[in-house]
Every structure is written in C-alpha cells, then in structure tokens.
Symmetry: C2
Subunit: 130 residues, 2 copies
C-alpha cells in the first residue's frame, strides 16, 4: 500500500489531520506524521521527515503532504537525503488537509502511487461552497 506522510510545523495539526483521515479509513495503518521539532516546538525537521518516509514505505511508494513553504522545503531536503534508496516518494502539490484526506482514502482502497498522488492534487480544484 502507498504510505502517506503528513509534514507540518505543528504536531497538533498533523495529528488532527491523521485523526480525521482515519475516521474515513478505519483500521488503516499507512498514515504517518512528521511534525514539530524534537521538543514539540513549532517547526519541521528534514531528518525526522526522512525517517518517517522510510517508516511509511511499504513497497508501493510514499506521498507526502506539507503545510507551508518551509515545510515543503524540509520535505524536499528529506527526499534528497533518500535519493540513493529505492523509495518512490513525492510531495503532493495540494492543500494539506484536503489532500491528505483524499490521498488516505485512495491509499486505503489500494490504489497505485500515481492515483494516490493524483487524488491529493485534484483537491486543489475542490470548491467548498456551491
């Protein structure tokens, strides 16, 4: 199954996204958080993200969702550190909550890496108000 990694500056935010995504995918174990600094402070840590991507990898690749600019940069740094490892990993160009939920649902039903990534990125086109 495709793994999902949620990168946020706030640990609460990442855990909240995971909580919400798992409400729709009861029993799914493929959602991981890499959020906050070691001491719980606000921030993102490339090494922690790298380790979390490794943990999330189950042979089918890992889709990363990140909150804001510096979270994306930390995730890019983490992916660079993994370049010698055979892990297929990409950051979704998507809003973090909406993208993580869509990706988790697709991963849960066993979709491929491409489809999980695509589902996350399609949420950029979501309208909430009709």
């Amino acid at each position: 199954m495709v793994g999902i990694v949620i990168v946020s500056h706030s640990r609460k935010l990442a855990e909240g996204i995971k909580e919400l995504a798992l409400q729709m995918t009861i029993g799914f174990e493929g959602v991981y958080c890499a959020a906050g600094l070691e001491d719980g402070e606000i921030g993102t840590d490339p090494v922690k993200i790298m380790e979390t991507i490794r943990e999330a990898e189950d042979g089918d690749g890992v889709v990363v969702l990140a909150d804001i600019g510096s979270g994306v940069m930390s995730a890019e740094a983490a992916i660079e550190m993994l370049e010698d490892e055979p892990i297929r990993v990409k950051i979704a160009d998507a809003p973090i909550v909406e993208g993580a939920i869509a990706a988790t649902v697709e991963a849960f039903i066993g979709r491929s890496f491409e489809l999980v990534l695509e589902a996350a990125e399609e949420t950029r086109n979501f309208r909430k108000i009709s």
Copy 2:
C-alpha cells in the same frame, strides 16, 4: 478587526491551525476554534459554531474556514441561526489550513472583511511545488 473562526471535525486539527496561524501573528486574539463535539469526539456542532462566531465578532465581521463537506454544512446552519443578528459572516471557499493562515495574517494587519475573505480564497490558487 475581522475575526477568524476555524471549523473542524477534529479539535486537534483546529487547535493546530490556530497554533500555526498565531506563530505569524504573535499577540493576535482574533482566531477562534469551533471544533469537535462536546465530548471531544470527531464532529461539528452548529450551535457551538454559532456561539463561536458571536464571540469572534468585534464589529468588523467574521470569516469562517471549514474542513470538509459536513463542516461546511454545519457552518452554514450556524450562519442561518444568526440571520437576525447584525453580524457580517461568510464561509471562505478555501482550503482550511492555507486559507486560515492567509486570513489570519490579513486580519492581524487590520484589513477589511472583503480583503480577509479574498486572501483566504486566493489560496485555492497556491502552488506548493515550483
């Protein structure tokens, strides 16, 4: 100042968004959460959202950010309950994290209701990956 209300099914998620938004607007007091059910369970409560909108109103209106479909519906129900009160309130058609951060920054620097709402909604066009 324009008030910001974050509506989420997950209390952790809303608190995480508030935590992150306030990192960029130290000392700002205009961000409120209406998230989870009374017992902390996952869900949204229109009455709680209505009360939180009232609390957030400071004379300049309130912009609401909501997570997913049923959160938007609960926020719409809350706004309907307020229709006899002179509160200018709208749900931003925006991703919850990105929209809440942009709206909070604009509210913090004293922008009008229209500009705060617009800043939130413009985040639909954000790209995270260049």
